[in-house]
């Protein structure tokens, strides 16, 4: 059962760690100062959440948070490809839409995890949900505002949604050992969570004048296997950057 628990916790933690890192790349590059600070603050929260998730495994005698974050082989990561995508040419519409789709998914996952039969995870979800509300408010407010503002803003958000939707869909790819997790009552099936997520975002996107379409099988195919260790094209460069300092002196005490 420890393998199932590790599979679940790493899927949650790795998403947070990499999302945090990508958001942090906006420091100094936000369209306005307040957005610099917002993305930096959200990044700090997500990285802290990753650490708290890893700690659940550390408490069971598995690796330390630093070992999980900085000393793993790429195929030991369980992140979704959505969070590995670069910020490309720093298109704020793309960053905002990823933040919106991701944080809506987090709300759904955390709400479900509050009722997890694995108590340490349920307690942590309760805590994280209280912090995530601010992230959600930020993403929601900007998508509503920009979705119905100028034509350019609308087009950029719609194009970001078109590009990102298959990736966001795959946040809910079935995890290894998922039937065991579901049977233990740790988390509902990923496909149920995806349906809840769709039911939530659809009216919100509609309010902002945006539409999504169900991704085709061919769009989803290259994204499959992320929860099983298959990394995206962008992972290696990201990981090299994340681990640059720790790798320079692996024995250092922090």
């Amino acid at each position: 059962m420890i393998e199932a628990l590790e599979s679940l916790v790493l899927s949650l933690a790795d998403d947070e760690l990499l999302m945090g890192h990508r958001h942090a790349e906006w420091i100094g590059l936000g369209p306005i100062l307040e957005e610099d600070i917002a993305f930096a603050s959200i990044a700090q929260d997500e990285t802290g959440h990753a650490q708290a998730y890893y700690q659940l495994l550390t408490d069971l005698g598995l690796s330390s948070p630093d070992e999980y974050a900085f000393k793993r082989q790429p195929n030991a990561f369980r992140s979704a490809h959505l969070v590995e995508l670069p910020n490309f040419d720093y298109d704020y519409g793309l960053a905002l839409m990823r933040h919106f789709l991701y944080d809506a998914a987090e709300q759904v996952r955390l709400e479900a995890l509050r009722h997890s039969t694995y108590e340490p995870l349920a307690g942590l979800a309760e805590r994280l949900l209280r912090e995530e509300k601010y992230h959600w408010m930020h993403a929601y407010t900007w998508v509503q505002r920009l979705g119905r503002s100028t034509e350019e803003a609308h087009l950029r958000l719609q194009s970001a949604l078109d590009q990102l939707f298959p990736y966001a869909w795959m946040l809910f790819e079935e995890m290894p050992y998922e039937p065991d997790m579901v049977e233990a009552g740790w988390i509902p099936p990923s496909s149920d969570l995806r349906n809840l997520w769709l039911a939530q975002i659809t009216p919100w996107l509609r309010e902002a004048g945006l539409v999504h379409t169900q991704p085709s099988e061919s769009a989803l195919l290259p994204l499959k296997g992320a929860r099983h260790g298959l990394r995206s094209l962008y992972f290696d460069e990201l990981y090299a950057e994340m681990t640059e300092v720790s790798a320079s002196d692996p024995e250092a005490e922090w």
Binding site: I37, S41, A52, G123, R127, K133, Y134
Partner: protein, 161 residues
């Protein structure tokens, strides 16, 4: 372990440790010190971070352990993530110190962020003609506002909901 040592005495000592990000308030008045247990093997202190990603946690952990070691004790600080910190943990002295330091305090603590950011008054001129500039400020527990009445920016102490 000295027989006379009680958790209350230790809590009193810890009031000399400031919150590193809001040094006007002690870690105790901020409600971050949970259960304290005095046992044969040493003293156990539960530390409850306001936000899970709070970068001050490690420093606080070290400061508390250092202070208790100076008192000749064997301390162990456990950081508690599986229990949320709550605004209700802030003591009366804590709220007073926050106000004195120039923070606005939310009038309502609800789980809807939009409601919590309404009915905020400027800590300088007390006007309610204010607007939210950003829910994110210099630290995770602070939001930025602007007062249309006196033209000054100010910060709201923002608890996790």
């Amino acid at each position: 372990m000295k027989a006379s040592l009680t958790p209350d005495t230790i809590r009193e000592w810890l009031k000399s440790i400031p919150d590193p990000e809001i040094p006007h308030v002690s870690v105790v008045d901020m409600g971050m010190v949970g259960e304290i247990r005095v046992e044969e093997e040493g003293v156990q202190v539960e530390l409850i971070p306001t936000f899970a990603g709070c970068p001050a946690v490690k420093l606080l952990q070290q400061s508390i352990e250092a202070l208790l070691r100076e008192k000749g004790l064997k301390p162990k600080v456990h950081v508690e993530y599986s229990r949320p910190w709550q605004a209700e943990y802030v003591t009366e002295a804590g709220w007073t110190a926050l106000r004195k330091a120039g923070f606005a305090i939310p009038k309502k603590l609800t789980d809807d962020p939009r409601e919590m950011f309404s009915e905020v008054a400027c800590p300088r001129c007390h006007s309610e003609a204010v607007s939210l500039t950003s829910p994110f400020g210099p630290t995770a527990c602070r939001a930025i506002f602007y007062c249309h009445s006196c033209g000054e920016a100010f910060e709201l102490f923002k608890p996790p909901l």
